[in-house]
């Protein structure tokens, strides 16, 4: 597809249309080649049904000049997603819910004579705490007999990682970062225990599927496929089976890195309440439009921002903490909080074709305010990052920075130093203030009651 100057680099595969940005507004051009599918999708009632169920992002048809007029049928303006996240940043249940949302959409589509032509995990985003499809052009008119083109993609993007996370180790979800088009099924098959062959869904959709890929790699599908193709009942049976298989895959957060963090922390009740009070007070003063809570654990402090209506992303390295946070958002139907997995010592990079399809952490900024609560000592002591480099890092993507300074004498820092030589001479309150003063103004600072810790409100120097 010819790229126009303002078309977006993540949207080039589907000839049916593409995304473009103009004047800071996101549009999607529907190409003439995708006109029939789009028109039927809108007229079938499927659009309305999916939007009502919260499974599809709403859009409006607009009178905007197309980005590529020669191929254009229509221009639509989709509702903007506050923050784009990627499957390798999701916890187990986030990926599972995204998979179930995809299948639920496909079941609804089939009832109305439509079908999903792709099943990419990247087409799902979390909106108001729930997974929703963001690609309006993912639908095509269903033709009886035609198999599901997206079957392989669904298995690679959803089933394989979920099976590996559930049956081997939850950290295998990170493989999605290496394999941007989903985990190769033969690899998943080799990593899964043999017992998974006793599970009908995993046996067929993963193990046998993987063998078939090798066996029929060069086959001429037309000559060896059954004459009638795939009946409607068979199609429904396939989707039902995938759904059952996904539903049965479970994972319980256990042995978490910070699982019971708030029970082992050295805060008194008074100190804990005072810390919350300070943060809430500062949030009122700076009124940020967006917040990233870095090292958010299960989102205890992120909620001070999200509950005040501020779109907040709660990042943590621990899949268990992110899982617990997501499950709480789900059960309490919270709207403004998105929990995601992130290793700050190696943040999400730019990935995909020309490194332009998936944005890095920094490219998805800037953000108005960042919380770095009891975080600096992990980066400075455990990961040996000099304080001046930390100041540069934060100044790269935020205006306001809320820091909880944990001194060396604190039991949590002592724990980190227990097995190593203390090479951190500059890790002092003065060292911290002077390192951060090069990039930030210290607007306020307060000692937390009944604690050795100190809170700072910093504003980036322009």
């Amino acid at each position: 597809m010819p790229r126009t100057s303002d078309s977006l680099p993540a949207s080039f595969r589907d000839p049916g249309g593409f995304l473009f940005s103009r004047g800071g507004i996101l549009y999607r051009q529907v190409n003439r080649v995708g006109a029939d599918d789009y028109t039927r999708f809108m007229e079938s009632g499927l659009y309305e049904k999916l939007v009502k169920a919260g499974l599809l992002i709403p859009h409006a048809e607009v009178d905007e000049t197309p980005a590529d007029a020669a191929r254009a049928f229509k221009v639509i303006r989709p509702e903007r997603v506050p923050f784009i996240s990627y499957p390798y940043e999701w916890s187990f249940s986030q990926l599972k819910d995204a998979a179930l949302a995809t299948l639920s959409i496909q079941k609804r589509a089939l009832k109305l004579g439509m079908s999903l032509k792709d099943a990419s995990a990247y087409n799902i985003q979390f909106l108001h705490g729930k997974p929703a499809l963001i690609d309006t052009l993912s639908f095509e008119i269903y033709r009886e007999g035609k198999p599901w083109d997206a079957y392989r993609q669904f298995c690679q993007h959803f089933l394989a990682p979920l099976a590996l996370m559930s049956r081997v180790d939850v950290r295998l979800g990170h493989l999605l970062r290496v394999y941007v088009d989903g985990i190769p099924l033969d690899l998943a098959g080799r990593l899964l225990p043999s017992a998974t062959k006793l599970n009908f869904g995993l046996l067929t959709h993963l193990h046998i599927h993987a063998s078939a890929q090798t066996r029929y790699a060069d086959a001429d599908v037309k000559s060896i496929s059954p004459k009638g193709g795939m009946s409607r009942n068979a199609f429904i049976g396939l989707i039902d089976s995938l759904e059952k298989t996904v539903r049965k895959l479970t994972w319980k957060p256990a042995g978490t890195e910070w699982g019971n963090y708030y029970e082992i922390t050295n805060y008194t009740d008074t100190g804990f309440a005072h810390k919350k009070e300070i943060i809430s007070d500062w949030l009122k003063k700076i009124a940020p439009k967006s917040v990233w809570d870095l090292g958010a654990n299960n989102g205890e402090f992120s909620r001070l921002a999200s509950a005040a209506g501020i779109p907040t992303v709660a990042w943590d390295i621990d899949p268990s903490a992110v899982e617990q946070n997501y499950l709480r958002i789900k059960s309490e139907k919270e709207q403004n909080l998105l929990p995601l997995i992130l290793d700050l010592t190696n943040p999400s990079p730019a990935l995909g074709w020309a490194n332009e399809e998936r944005d890095s952490l920094g490219q998805r900024g800037p953000v108005d305010a960042v919380f770095a609560l009891a975080l600096i000592h992990h980066l400075a002591v455990s990961n040996n990052v000099p304080l001046s480099m930390l100041a540069d890092f934060f100044a790269g993507f935020c205006r306001w920075l809320v820091v909880e300074w944990v001194p060396k004498s604190d039991s949590q820092v002592q724990k980190l130093l227990r097995t190593r030589r203390d090479i951190f001479e500059t890790y002092t309150r003065e060292g911290f203030e002077s390192a951060f003063a090069t990039r930030f103004h210290i607007r306020e600072s307060v000692d937390v009651k009944e604690s050795e810790r100190r809170m700072y409100l910093l504003e980036r120097k322009e």
């Binding site: 049916g16 392989r152 029929y216 795939m230 009942n233 039902d240």
Partner: protein, 63 residues
């Protein structure tokens, strides 16, 4: 057999063939369930609700 219009996504020849075989087997179950529901309806037994008929339902099924 519908091979046109061609998919923009490569379905993969192995994935294409195997899903037809798996789905054919699964389709029998769907057909049986459908006939059974018809018999039950004829007998006046109310069929179980389908989540995709319920506009308020969502896909939050992870546990």
């Amino acid at each position: 057999m519908h091979f046109s219009p061609p998919a923009y996504l490569d379905p993969g020849s192995g994935s294409f063939i195997i899903q037809i075989l798996i789905a054919a087997a699964l389709g029998i179950g769907v057909a049986i369930t459908a006939s059974w529901s018809k018999i039950k309806r004829w007998l006046g037994i109310k069929p179980a609700a389908d989540e995709t008929d319920d506009d308020d339902s969502d896909a939050d099924a992870a546990n």
